[in-house]
Symmetry: C2
Subunit: 168 residues, 2 copies
Amino acid sequence: MRIAALALAAVVLAGCGRMETPEQQAARMQAETDSAHAAVAEGNARWARYVTAGQIDSLGLLFVADGVAMPPNVPGATGRDSIVARLRPFLIPGGTLTLTNQSFAAHGPIAVARGIFAYTAPAQGRTPAVDVRGKYLEHWHKTDAGWLLAETTWNTDAPTPPPPPPAR
Amino acid sequence: MRIAALALAAVVLAGCGRMETPEQQAARMQAETDSAHAAVAEGNARWARYVTAGQIDSLGLLFVADGVAMPPNVPGATGRDSIVARLRPFLIPGGTLTLTNQSFAAHGPIAVARGIFAYTAPAQGRTPAVDVRGKYLEHWHKTDAGWLLAETTWNTDAPTPPPPPPAR
């Protein structure tokens, strides 16, 4: 009986080894949120750098394979190649994109980031200066390759002016 | 010793009572996702009903107290009263809103829903028919009062036409 009781305790303990207490779970979740927040911040910094550098092709790297981008005033696009093609016309020569995150939430493999953006370019010849302000909402997903964009959308705080006429 | 061993097993079992196995966790998470999906679908059905009925005030009920709505072409709004005021000008008399969900993800208290919408109204007198198509992205949060919108944004698939001239 003594041996049986000890064996029982050992079996129960072995089972417990696969589990976590609520306190352990809370600590793990906070650590996961902090890690996700840092990864998403870096992802958004890369987005802004790519746009500012005119490296639109690189934006595809930020998405999961079946990711979705939904820019304003055009239909949404699914998949990296479609997303890159859909975003290219939005590029303003000499434009600088700044993203400012305002809210972040994460749980397990899901993270949501919200913020505002400014996309500006100085006047160049007869092309007037550009100053577009807006807001974005992003759904990031944790993958084996790190945190990637599953879905993103944005719009502007005022109707977007028509494209400037080409410089002559 | 035998009593001590049994007591140890009892203590370990009591500790395990607060925990769950990976299998239990997976089953719980699937049930939670299904429940969240149903609640969010009902929330979106209410959103469409309220807009179609012209009950813009009721849209505030769908948000957490510090919720954020980010419509296109205007700045975002935070808090129920601000959201309702910001959304009112978007109302089209006689308009019918249809939401079609295309993607849903949930984990714990966070859910993300993505879809497309159509907002249509028949021609009325000299007012031409309206047919606005677009897409939305929503962040829902589980609260003591159920699933509520924490953040939502949308935009249109084409530049929104200027408001029709008033009928004479």
